[in-house]
């Protein structure tokens, strides 16, 4: 296709992505370097019979005027990035000097909002993703062995957790694990602990979120793997059988290698989606015990006074995180692409 025609075809789509994905990233970068104006102060002296005392008051009108004239705020350089709510360089350095052991250092890091969110986001990403793969694979193998008649209904039911709105799905779970809800009450009865609450302790909240994540994403892995199972070459399977391979060996040496590209695909999508874990935390009202990078941005923007600078700095750090996450994939694709051209 000539370059010109190509350009005309792709232009609307490219414009949309440029204006609303590329430019906002630029806007985030600019905003992260600025911080809200300080209040304009007026110094005045109030003089009384016992001499004069200087007093400082806030000039509301001037502050508002300044904020309206330059909504971006004043230039702050990289200071937002290094403050306590983001990379907290001074606090980390201090903790490094003072902490005697690794656990002590880690627990001090966990008191800093950014590191706490980063820890949860990374744990969520790297715990949920492999478990989703395993669950999806197990369900796919199980469903593949079912009689044809039941497969359609099984797939229908399996699609539900994936297709439901994430906020709604997590709310449903939230109500069920309530101390008066069916799961919460049953757990209390089973453990014999009437005060057990999945919402109170950080560890249990994290576990609940992981379980939700697996419930929500396993169907995606299942469907992809199930489709892959339908394309396993029958000849190879028969050949393996004739050579005396057991069921397990056939699974290990024929089916799994055949599925490898699909696993890579699911891992890629899951890493991207799990890294932005957000709605589940809102739905489960878990932000106090388990905040993620997205939640930090959300609460900065949602506060009584939106803190654009702070939200933007966290956004930039998140984007850097996404870039690091994707680098291996991009390098791999680049190699494949070059190999194909040669």
């Amino acid at each position: 296709m000539p370059h010109r025609t190509f350009l005309w075809f792709i232009l609307p789509s490219l414009m949309a992505m440029f204006l609303f994905i590329a430019l906002p990233i630029g806007s985030v970068l600019v905003q992260s370097l600025h911080v809200e104006h300080e209040q304009v102060l007026i110094e005045s002296e109030t003089c009384g019979p016992f001499g004069c005392t200087p007093s400082v008051s806030i000039d509301q009108a001037a502050t508002r005027a300044l904020r309206e004239a330059r909504p971006l705020g004043r230039f702050n350089g990289l200071r937002t990035y290094t403050d306590r709510n983001h990379l907290a360089t001074t606090e980390v350095a201090l903790a490094w000097q003072e902490a005697e052991s690794w656990p002590a250092f880690a627990s001090r890091l966990m008191n800093l909002p950014f590191y706490k969110a980063l820890a949860f986001t990374l744990s969520y990403t790297f715990i949920v993703t492999p478990l989703v793969i395993l669950t999806g694979m197990a369900v796919a193998l199980g469903v593949n062995g079912l009689p044809q008649l039941m497969k359609g209904a099984t797939i229908f039911v399996s699609l539900l957790p994936m297709i439901v709105t994430p906020l709604v799905g997590s709310l449903i779970l939230f109500w069920m694990i309530d101390a008066d809800g069916i799961l919460g009450a049953t757990l209390q009865r089973l453990t014999g602990d009437p005060n057990l609450s999945l919402k109170a302790s950080p560890v249990l909240t994290w576990l609940t979120l992981f379980v939700y994540g697996i419930w929500h994403s396993a169907p995606f892995a299942f469907i992809v793997f199930y489709a892959g199972l339908q394309t396993v070459p029958a000849e190879t399977m028969e050949a393996a059988q004739i050579d005396g391979a057991t069921r397990w060996q056939r699974l290990r040496y024929v089916v799994i290698p055949h599925m490898a590209p699909l696993v890579v695909f699911v891992v890629l999508i899951q890493l991207m989606d799990n890294f932005r874990v957000f709605e589940a935390i809102v739905g489960l009202s878990a932000a106090a015990n388990a905040s993620s990078l997205s939640i930090l941005i959300y609460s900065d923007l949602r506060g009584d006074v939106a803190q654009f600078g702070s939200a933007a700095a966290t956004s930039m750090l998140t984007i850097i995180g996404v870039a690091i996450l994707l680098t291996p994939v991009l390098i791999r694709t680049w190699r494949d692409f070059n190999r194909k051209r040669v």
Binding site: T5, F6, F9, I10, P12, S13, L14, A16, M17, F20, I21, P24, I25, G26, S27, V28, Q31, P71, L72, V139, G142, V143, F156, L159, L160, P161, V164, P166, L167, V168, G169, I172, W175, M176, D178, D180, G181, I182, I223, V224, A227, G228, R247, R276, F278, E279, V282, S285, S294, I297, Y298, D300, L301, F308, S315, T318, I319, L326, L330, T333
Partner: protein, 293 residues
């Protein structure tokens, strides 16, 4: 494959069937439970005494005189105006899907037929864009939108959702167009069509299965979105999902939780219908990217 050698041992059949049944219960039970519970009063759905109350509706009978009550739905739709939010969702989602597909088919077709190196790089760029957490983009929009008075309108939300949808739409349609033989439009061009005429008269008539599937996923993305709609729409233009989140802020009053439960069930019903009618397309869409790419 039904040879003797392939027949599975009984324990294996039992084990794998049990596992699948367990999975089905885990997948479906929360929905059934919530659907059933939405017709009860709060005292039953969150029963302090015994969870069986939710099944028989003990408190519901005491409070309303019948085992089922529509109070939650009445509260959500009549008192809280959830219908208005549903209408907003319909408008936003409809236009997002239509515009996404229009832009996406043109772009996806071009990417599938280009063959130059830059088409590959555009796809890679789209992949990177797809990975961007939506909330980071929202934090980029918010300040400019406030300044230019674009904040709060449905149109803004539609345009933003279209843009966020584009990377995914391009990928999916690109892989569908790769499956349509090149000879089809090329022979039309040999016969004297321009590229656009070939697209218009030859490709459009055969592209519908791919477009429908992609449309389903665009629909899901727009319908399920929380980050964009919660942050960019004002109270009057609020769609269903942020509205449900708002209900939770006002759940201190007895019974209001049931408004949220009813709203959740109402918001899930369309998705349920979607799977019933389009299960095959959804499955083929999920696998389209994987099996080919």
């Amino acid at each position: 494959m039904s040879s003797v050698a392939n027949r599975r041992s009984t324990p294996l059949i039992i084990l794998s069937s049990a596992f699948v049944i367990l999975w089905l219960i885990i997948a479906a039970f929360p929905f059934l439970w919530t659907l059933w519970g939405s017709f009860k009063v709060q005292g039953d759905f969150f029963s302090r005494a015994d969870w069986m109350n939710a099944l028989w509706g003990t408190r519901t009978v005491v409070e309303t005189g019948a085992a089922f009550t529509g109070n939650g739905y009445y509260g959500a739709f009549v008192e809280e105006g959830f219908g208005h939010a549903a209408m907003n969702t319909l408008i936003v989602v409809f236009f997002t899907v239509i515009i996404s597909l229009t832009l996406g088919t043109l772009g996806g077709y071009a990417l599938a037929r280009s063959g130059y190196r830059y088409a590959f790089w555009l796809l890679m760029l789209a992949l990177v864009f797809r990975a961007m957490p939506h909330i980071t983009l929202v934090s980029g929009y918010l300040l400019p939108f406030f300044e230019w008075n674009l904040w709060g309108h449905k149109t803004t939300a539609v345009i933003v959702l279209v843009a966020i949808n584009q990377p995914f739409t391009l990928w999916m349609l690109h892989s569908f167009f790769l499956n349509i033989p090149k000879d089809l439009d090329e022979s039309a061009m040999v016969d004297g069509c321009t590229r656009f005429q070939a697209f218009r008269h030859v490709i459009i008539p055969v592209m519908w299965p791919g477009v429908v599937t992609t449309g389903l996923f665009s629909f899901l993305l727009a319908y399920n979105d929380f980050a964009v709609t919660a942050m960019l729409l004002n109270q009057d233009n609020q769609t269903m999902v942020p509205q449900i989140a708002n209900f939770l802020g006002s759940t201190f009053e007895e019974g209001n939780v049931m408004f949220a439960v009813a709203a959740v069930v109402s918001a899930t019903a369309p998705l349920f219908l979607l799977i019933i009618f389009f299960q095959r397309q959804i499955v083929s869409g999920l696998t389209a990217g994987a099996v080919k790419g």
